[in-house]
Symmetry: D2
Subunit: 411 residues, 4 copies
């Protein structure tokens, strides 16, 4: 395709996504009207997709300058990058499948532009800013999208090295519900189906990790007819999984029963040599966690006598005893690598939250303290109310009498 | 039945419940061994059931003196009261269906014993102590079981009148999950089935209020095959209900569609004249909230031209136009009034938390500050771990390497 | 209570059930208007409950004489029997817990009245008529309610001894859906909860037998939050269970995992010594099949060193090694013995089918051939349409063009 | 790609599918060993996919000659066709997106080869043979895969024009369960997600038609978190949908509420002008029925003032009042057109049934009567048992005593 055609395809993709991002759309309209971000420099390390493009344009519409690099080279949509750069106000740098080195270069360029606000997905800009504190003169605040990134940010804060206040977008209630549970739940299974075309009904799916995301993955796997087993190290989460009707097992026991394994722990090496040794022939391995360290690729490689690509994004490892394990997307986050990533409607919520946090930080009369800050509850509620309106759902309001009652103690 | 026989029946009921309260059982064994509560005076206003009896005995086993009155006269199990009083260390006062006046008298007697620790279910002892501050000389702390009670406690605290620090047992994660979602979810539907013997499949159930309890009620109603509609005033909760696949409607619209209405809001008059005017003939009205104010009985009485009892716990109101609405248990909390209350396995969790909070308060070297305190996370985790053991569920532990990874930022 | 009071209580129970039996109500109105059964003698062996009372009265209203005996002495509602006999046209004989001998006597009395039509629940009247062929001169047809009864009827037919044509009411599509799946599904779990007050969430429920009824039981157990395991000897049914997301295991393996075991096979001794030997302490045993032969009571008795009643309808067997197994309702069908039996709305469908089959047989110009006959499809459809109307559900009709298209082959 | 590369890609696709078709694999091994189809000429009109390739090779392995044409040009996988023709024994003719005329030509060529056995998907070969009776001298039997095709076959039989006995593969219990409910259920939603990347949670999905396939679609839509509304003209099916917890509405009412509409009726024009007039902006229209006549494209075209392609397989119709309706895959069957069609594991069941029916017809000592024949129950059971083995599921066998009991009437 010619460059123009590519950009046009990207433009259409952006518009299709935009049509499903009604919350961000309403926020964008107000930002534009108020020129709320006039002259603000924003640096962002996000998945370079059609949804991100809509966020970037909403910020630009409010007056900001936005510079973008890729959180994950496997999720980059090249036509969208082309379309963004063809429009105005946004500089996006990234290419699907680019090398680690190329990606790092782009990330450094974003930091070098001395952004006032950071949008992060994995805390890579935040960590970069921590290393190069002196050079990030203008930095006011950041908003972080992932729980993995917040672990990093908190660790930095613990060492006194956090470069700016960070909004924990990922921990907002709206985000937890939409992005983690419903968004990743659907898109993880969607990615696995696209990669494998498996029938899930009747299969045993082992979900390792029962945080908000694992919970969504388990829910959707069950909704697709699978027998679902949950593995979890936290007793409270394990108990909750069990109470919701899942079988809960140690991973070594589950290893013998699963047809499909999905890691979503935020930890590393949760599937490793001892698990591979017990899995049956044909098992499928997928990771839905942020980093590609949850399935030990070194253990898998060491156990295999042969390795071949059998479908796009499916690599078959043949073990010494002849059993074959199918690894999806090289152990990278499967919803982004093998699917289209989050549905636009999910990112709608996340990015409306990001835009509102950025606006608040940009407009704050006093700077926020260094530290991890929850998304203010009124932003959460505003986003939920806009989303209900977008879905056409009406709800009741409390009467004055009921409000009084709620805070009254002497009845 | 002769008194002895009644006590024996109560004793059997207590033992049956005890057999399902394995977490409390293990806690009780340790308290007894350590004589952890030797000489402590505990006053409790709880549902006088077989499960409460097991809690009282666990405390007595640890050395405490326990005095009990009823949180709700409709839930009192007379044989259990008899059995408790026939044993040692516990004084229990209450009778199923006793008058408001009789119940109040018992409540005052508990306060008059000058308890050091309070176990409350609706904050009635706490509020009583607030009114009579001077006389509660020994009061160290309280543990409150319900969200309604915590509203009261917080209101008192807001006015500077809270008489002691209060553990918010109801807001602990274990409690939210078990008691509110799974416990009340099952027992509310169970109470409705016992009162009506309805077939839920194919019926439309309207759940008003989507807090932790409403969520459990909706989940179980759907699990029983009903079409479930949710009404909610909080946009975030409303949105969550919708994302979980429920239809969300204003209550006036839902009023026209429901076959069964279940209020669980913590508010008052959520079903009132305007809703009754729209309901269809034969609709069933039940309340799963703590207080009997969610369905407006005065509006219902005013709208009815006739009122008769058609089954135990079912009162039929015939409206002026001939439509008949069936009110369950006089609008009192239906799982307690029409069923057996929470399954023992649920109360096991709540009461283990209560016992551990009481122990902590009794053993604290320094007094806790006045205010509402969350249940300490280690108590929550300990209870979850004991419960998993009771269910025979094993889980993995994080490796040292994984623990390090979780707190590491530079990867 | 005085006899009059008992009859009045029974009358109220009949009316409450009647209010939920709208399909039968509409059929009854037409039968009465047309005097469709004038002078017809009907003998029935059914559960003597409020729902059956409504059927009997619908037939009497159409002009029939009805004589009733009990299909199961544990399900008999004494007040209903009293109310029926106090009204006109029906003679009902039975008492809750009556002896096998008393029940047999009543059954023989029904046959001795030389009925023209039989309504059966377990084929006991049919089998009785087979034995006493000569004396059943007037017998035109029977309608059988259970799959267990149809096995008997088919066996009789195989031996050339079936005394009359039999409508397989239980195999009608409406019946399969309502009575077996939804009715027994809900009421079986309801019976178990009433007997035990267990919390099902988090528990492992083993459903043995995955016919229409077992399927309903499994669905509701899952809907209540249990981990559900299915055991089944038919490969097609076993496969269907697995595709619906249940774990499918041999019963001996499941025996080690279950907290609650529910047999619903139509076979015998499906739980026996070898299974009891593997169950864990506290396991609950319930039967949802028609006959009380699915759990081997003789094996259980032989394995136990002690046996005591711990709650109404719960008998605890303590085995030699100290494990305790809790048998519900002596292994009799648990929804009838421990609950209130099928909800009225379910029996509404069954009994409307029965009434319409009886009407068809009574009005037939030519006798039906000896054999097992399916319920005619138009009766099935008529019942479904009446039920939708009762639920307030409207549906579309096919257009003429669409009807033509459906039968057209050349497109 | 060069031709050889294309064939290699097709070969890999065939092998990946084959690895998941264990039932067919076992059947194929036996057919090969027994040379069960030596010299038999088989003509097939099926979707030209990797799964069909495995069936064709299983037949060829048994000694048959197989000639293939396409049931739907949108589902043809060109690389698979290439690979098949590069191998031996199979002649496959078809190209993705080929013209109706080209497809018809291929279909006639299959008939011209005078097949002894026919495998059909839509009864096009059967209907062709009916028209050209004289020329189909060798035709022994056919197996039909779809319910739409069976309607045609029955209509032909009603007119006395059916050219041969036809096995109703689609009506076998195994097929109903796998192909219709679980297979099409999953793949229809998968196709819609791939075409749109919608988030289903929180959306309203209207499923029109509640036969076995519609039921699967509804189940999976609910499993994905959607609010599901069912429309159905048959009262029994409508009632079943309602009892399973779906809202059931006339299509005109549902038209106002849906976000996604899925037709699966086997009828025509089920969505037409009057429905489009009520739908809201952004609604998505998909068809899961066999033929592309369920959504009236002429009505949609007439109502639109503009029409543009917005994503691959998504065409946006802008109506006169500005509302935009998104039609997927031109109203063709969406799981095949927008997804990868049925998962291999589903087709495994269908094609094992087809292979066994073909074998039976080829080996029959006496010809089958002209007419529609159910798949023999023992074939159904054999396939289920093989599938359980493939899933690693073991089940119990009835004991001799239990078998006797099942057929015994005098207990």
């Amino acid at each position: 395709m010619a460059a123009g055609e590519v950009a046009r395809a990207g433009e259409e993709r952006i518009r299709w996504a935009g049509a499903q991002m009604e919350v961000l759309g309403r926020v964008a309209a107000r930002l534009a009207e108020e020129r709320a971000l006039a002259g603000v420099r924003i640096g962002a390390c996000l998945h370079l997709t059609a949804e991100t493009a809509n966020l970037a344009r909403a910020l630009v519409g409010g007056g900001a300058e936005v510079m973008l690099c890729a959180a994950n080279p496997l999720s980059t949509q090249d036509d969208v990058v082309r379309a963004l750069n063809a429009g105005g106000g946004v500089r996006a740098s990234g290419r699907r499948g680019e090398s680690a080195r190329a990606r790092l270069r782009a990330l450094r360029a974003v930091l070098a532009s001395d952004p006032q606000l950071i949008l992060d997905d994995g805390a890579e800009l935040i960590a970069g800013a921590a290393r190069a504190r002196g050079r990030q003169r203008s930095l006011l605040a950041a908003a972080e999208e992932t729980s993995a990134g917040l672990i990093t940010a908190r660790a930095l804060h613990g060492e006194g090295r956090l470069p700016c206040p960070v909004y924990a977008v990922n921990e907002s209630r709206a985000e937890r519900t939409f992005n983690d549970r419903f968004g990743t739940g659907q898109s993880t299974l969607d990615g696995i189906l696209r990669a494998t075309n498996l029938l899930l009904a009747g299969r045993t799916v082992v979900v390792i990790g029962y945080g908000p995301t694992g919970r969504g993955v388990a829910l959707r796997a069950r909704g697709a007819g699978a027998v679902v087993i949950v593995c979890e190290v936290d007793p409270m989460r394990a108990l909750e999984a069990r109470m919701e009707g899942y079988e809960v097992l140690p991973a070594l026991v589950a290893a013998e029963r699963g047809d499909v394994f999905i890691t979503v722990t935020g930890s590393r090496n949760v599937l490793r040599a001892e698990h591979f040794a017990r899995m049956h022939d044909g098992a499928v391995l997928a990771n839905a966690g942020h980093f590609d360290v949850e399935i030990s690729l070194s253990d898998l490689g060491a156990a295999a006598r042969e390795r071949e690509s059998v479908r796009p994004l499916v690599e078959r490892y043949t073990l010494a005893d002849g059993r074959r394990l199918n690894l999806l997307a090289e152990g990278r986050v499967v919803n982004l690598a093998a699917g289209e990533g989050h549905p636009a409607a999910v990112m709608d919520i996340s990015f409306a939250l990001q835009a509102l946090c950025v606006e608040r930080a940009a407009r704050a009369s006093e700077p926020l303290a260094i530290g991890i800050h929850p998304v203010p509850e009124e932003i959460d509620r505003a986003v939920a109310a806009l989303k209900l309106a977008a879905l056409g759902v009406e709800i009741d309001a409390e009467s004055d009498e009921q409000q009084r009652y709620r805070t009254l103690w002497e009845r």
